[in-house]
Amino acid sequence: MATSSRPLTSSAPSIPIDKIVQWGIFILTILLVIFPSWPIFYQSVMDAPLYEQTRQFTLDNFSRVLSDSEFWGVLGTTVVYALFTTIISLATGAALALLIIRTDMPARGYFSLLINIPFYVSPLILAFGWSVIFGPQGFFTILIRNIGLPTWDLYTLGGLIAVTAMYYMPYTYLYCTASLSLSDSQLEDAARIAGANPLSVLFNVTVPLMRPAITYSALLTLVSSIEILSIPLVLGTPANLNVLATYLYKIGIVGVKTDYGSIAVVSIFIVLLVTALVALQNILMSQEKRFVTVSGKATRPRQLLLGVWKWPIFTVAATAVFIIIVLPLFGILLQAITPFVSPFINPLTILTTENFDIIFRTEPYRLSVINSVMIAVVGGAVGVVFMAVVAVVAYRSSLPTRGALRYVALYPRAFPGLIVGIGFLWAFLLVPGFGSIRNTLFALTLAFIMRHLPLGFSSISPSVLRISEELDRAARVAGANWLGVIRHILIPILRPALLSAYIILAITFLKEYSVALFLFAPGSQVIGTTMIELWRQGSSGPIAALATIQMVIIFALIAISRWVLGVKLNEVE
């Protein structure tokens, strides 16, 4: 038989370019995740700053932080803050989802639109908005005080919790809405036939079926409220109220003599806390599979009729949404176009462009707007391409470590922005060759991409998984190699998903401030860092102008994506 004499001729050893690309992406992703993490762990066991020549191993940093009563006080505040924030945002988010998806409350479409606004607005802006309207000298506070009614103090733990809960409420709303519109209405019909009245169906069938969504949102909110800096910074600092994030900011940036060891230890503490919560989230979600009732066919759920309660409930919900979302944003706009906000002066008589003039006249402020747009548009594009390739390698390659790549890509989830910033800053200082890019937009972009890798990865990978693998196989048999499959089959089919991920990433990069706080330098400031700088100077007018500019850019992006590119943004963080 001729076969045995010539088997090797049919396969000339070709350069395995696909293997090189796959391993390259894997190693690049690992480096990107490790790059900002190792200095923090290293610094935590060193007795002197990493840039000093003489330093020694020590555990003093840990004992110093752990014996500091202020640290424990801050930790206690953080726990109370995160727990109550979570409870309140879950209750309001789930209730609004039920009202909007499952009842005949009027104007449900408008509610849905308004509730989603906080997704697109930086929490920094919302915090400023609340202080303009509900702060001690706020528009609404003065109004109420003048009528002679008792007022409130926003700069308290309760105030912090209220604002943060309202900022994160849309997460719960989003996940509960998705769960409610997917669940099979036959389950509810079955309960009615079995003799349950509509209200009993609601509490015995509908609400329990929302459990996976609620569990998921609960842990997401818990993690997010441990990480968030802006709201506690703006509303807590005046009352000297600290949570872990602001404590870290205080000892890292505001402090007189920077204690690197303590910064590292507190950072590690936060990372471990968040890692534990994210792990818990994964465990709980895998146990909640039994609640998944997606039947594949879209059944239109029956509506619960509110009857006489229809208008009272509508009034309560409308007032709440108005106070929570509309009023603060309105306050920001008002602040931006007037010298001061007061209920006793008609704003139309004192209109001014002064605040905007300050932003556009002052070079560093103007530069921060340009920088933010650059990072969003260019950095977002680079980021989405990288994240798409990571998703494709993680789910559509023969790489033996592709399972590990999925974990690596999601791991930055455990790193709050502030800590990512610290890590990158130290790494740039320490790794030879990186010192020169430390103060550039490139440095910020790299850090932003690392921080939001989980967001991009998890918004692209479901679309990758939705493409039948037979399409890849058909292309391979037709003669395309792995890279050819990606170029000609996967990327064209993924295009809508990639566009939507790009817009989401661009908006996220525009809103991002915490990563930049430690990392930015004169010349590489972004909108968020400038807002915090202005806030430290007490210039509320220009802050409002800058906030308005950011919102206008974001809403322009959304408008362009929806009407020009036809992108539907349904997966926001």
């Binding site: 001729a2 076969t3 010539r6 088997p7 090797l8 049919s10 396969s11 039948s468 037979e470 399409l471 196989r473 058909a474 292309a475 391979r476 048999v477 037709a478 003669g479 395309a480 190699n481 050819g484 000609h488 089959i489 064209p492 089919i493």
Partner: protein
């Protein structure tokens, strides 16, 4: 079109410690249509994927003529794109973002067939599958049957060395499927391409194939023509899978040419046709094809007639189906009329009886 023999020698595919394909050897003659038949999980799809290069066998040789695709011990593992094959997938796998024309053109371009030559080839192939003029349509604008035709056109367009088909008819509804079966075989014959077809439907395999390879648990049980597989199944599994509905127990008492006398459990002796050389006193399983069993009402026939008692009857429209109990075991039989007595006489024609060695 050139056609080649496909040779598979001792291929195995292990996933961890589990053998999905276990030492399979078979040869497909040039231009032949061979079916890999078996229940799900039998290894037929894994075998097909090994031929396609979508999975790599852990041992063995696969070659088309002199063109070696896999020779595991010599380290030859050609990636799928270098094998020059055509394949039709279960879901058709038409690329949704490409027109019918582009779906065909993609593979041609990769095989360096371009310009007018490509255009001519595509037009001809679409004519062949009866879809001339559909070049500009997108897959979602086609019916299931049309998509299946495009998938076939795409697979044969670049004149591949082999045509591989992975249950391409399973997504069609019953009526279209029967038509598609004839049509597919017709196109394959006209192109004259060596073809490997994977299916779990025995009727499909019998109707279309030159040769059938029956597989179970990763092993090849029988590789033979459709008539041989049907008339002379090699063991109980093959007989069962290919359409026998009942098995009785018995012992061969005498063999005379192609006639064997079999003593059934219960004491009755019947005659069976067989071309296997049996020894006397051999215990055998007796597979019965229920569609050939006749219910007799008169007493003219006495040979090969056994008594049975009806335990349940089902009305199927054109006929009745009865589950009956005999001394040798239970059977399923059919009759045109409702039975008015619960005791029946059954005539087992020698051709309805298949003797299988009891393992």
């Amino acid at each position: 079109m050139k056609s080649n023999e496909l040779v598979i020698e001792n291929i195995s595919k292990h996933f961890g410690g589990v053998a999905a394909v276990n030492n399979v050897t078979l040869r497909v003659e040039p231009g032949q249509f061979t079916s890999l038949l078996g229940p799900s999980g039998c290894g037929k799809t894994t075998t097909l994927n090994c031929i396609a290069g979508l999975e790599m066998p852990t041992d063995g040789v696969i070659r088309i003529g002199d063109f070696v695709l896999n020779d595991v011990r010599r380290g030859v593992m050609l990636p799928p794109e270098q094998r020059e094959l055509g394949m039709v997938f279960q879901s058709y796998a038409l690329w949704p973002h490409m027109t019918v024309y582009d779906n065909l053109n993609f593979g041609l371009g990769l095989r360096k067939i371009k310009g007018e030559a490509a255009k001519k080839r595509i037009t001809e192939t679409l004519e062949l599958v009866g879809l001339g003029g559909f070049e500009k349509r997108y897959p979602f604008q086609l019916s299931g049957g049309q998509q299946q035709r495009v998938a076939l056109a795409r697979a044969v367009c670049a004149e591949p060395r082999l045509l591989l088909l992975d249950e391409p008819l399973s997504n069609l509804d019953a009526k279209v499927r029967e038509h598609a079966r004839l049509w597919l075989r017709e196109v394959q014959k006209r192109v004259g391409i060596t073809t490997v077809y994977v299916t779990h439907d025995q009727a499909e395999a019998l109707a279309m194939s030159d040769m059938i390879a029956v597989m179970s648990n990763g092993s090849l049980l029988q590789y033979a023509s459709p008539t041989d597989v049907y008339e002379r199944p090699i063991n109980r599994f093959v007989a069962d899978f290919i359409g026998a509905t009942a098995f009785l127990e018995g012992t061969i008492t005498a063999v005379n040419g192609d006639q064997a006398k079999v003593l059934l459990k219960g004491g009755q002796t019947i005659t069976a046709q067989t071309n296997t050389r049996w020894r006397d006193e051999k215990e055998v399983a007796i597979a019965i094809r229920s569609e050939r069993v006749q219910v007799v009402t008169d007493s003219s026939k006495t040979d090969n007639v056994i008594a049975a008692r009806i335990t349940s009857s089902t009305y199927l429209g054109s006929k009745w189906q009865h589950i009956v109990e005999t001394d040798a075991g239970s059977l399923k039989v059919e009759s045109l009329d409702a039975a008015n007595d619960s005791i029946l006489k059954l005539y087992l024609p020698p051709s309805a009886i298949i003797l299988i060695p009891n393992s």
